[in-house]
Symmetry: C2
């Protein structure tokens, strides 16, 4: 993982459709060498996958909220139950006053309420504190 790899990662994060030739030119390498480095980055798991990034609003997910979930028991193993709610985009075990923090994206606030109801249905959940997002200033990839 040298500096060239980091530059490749940065380029691929903003646009993974670039050809290896263009990519190589940007970092001063041949297309073949570039291909080889990217292949290794994939193999090592540094690049998890290459995916299309979809605009949530365009697929009817206009409501975003972060929900702190309080629980009376350990919830580190409830990943599957949380994943069963398809509107939950991320779930993290956190330190602090809550047990779990989830990021929820729904079409409407009514649907958000349904998700909160779903959360209460999970064993051990004793409360939720939702923070509704009014406007997203920016979202960007990690800077390597």
């Amino acid at each position: 993982m040298d500096d060239t790899d980091r530059r490749l990662l940065a380029l691929l994060q903003e646009d993974a459709t670039r050809s290896y030739a263009a990519l190589g030119q940007a970092v001063g390498l041949s297309a073949a060498a570039t291909h080889e480095r990217v292949r290794k980055l994939r193999e090592q798991g540094v690049i998890r996958r290459t995916a299309a990034e979809v605009d949530p609003a365009a697929v009817g997910k206009g409501v975003l909220a972060f929900v702190l979930v309080d629980a009376t028991s350990w919830m580190g193993d409830s990943g599957a139950e949380l994943a069963a709610l398809p509107e939950i985009e991320e779930a993290h075990v956190v330190a602090g006053s809550a047990s779990v923090l989830v990021k929820v994206r729904t079409s409407t606030t009514e649907r958000l309420q349904d998700v909160l109801r779903g959360l209460y249905g999970i064993d051990g959940v004793s409360g939720t504190r939702a923070t509704v997002v009014l406007d997203t200033l920016f979202e960007r990839p990690v800077t390597p």
Copy 2:
């Protein structure tokens, strides 16, 4: 935006390296027709971009935290100042007891502290409440 488009989006979200031929076969369309639909989805902005997803841990970003930022003035226009902290991955204006919620990824907790210090340097910021992530259960794309 019909059901075929939604299926294409789902497929491209899990792996955008698939060929149009394979993609078309999965939804029962020719490669050319698939190409055309994807082109339109891009043009309309439904697909924002296609990007490589990098494992944060592999690039030395092992610490994740969500920080609620309290402020004494309106912060909806402070996007640029927040974006100047490169460790901030997302920034949202929120309803509730705080003004802004940011997602921060750093190498160490010391660097997290530096980011918090940076936040206090922004005009109007009067406090921060950080919630540190212990374990990420899952992160997944929006379900169209």
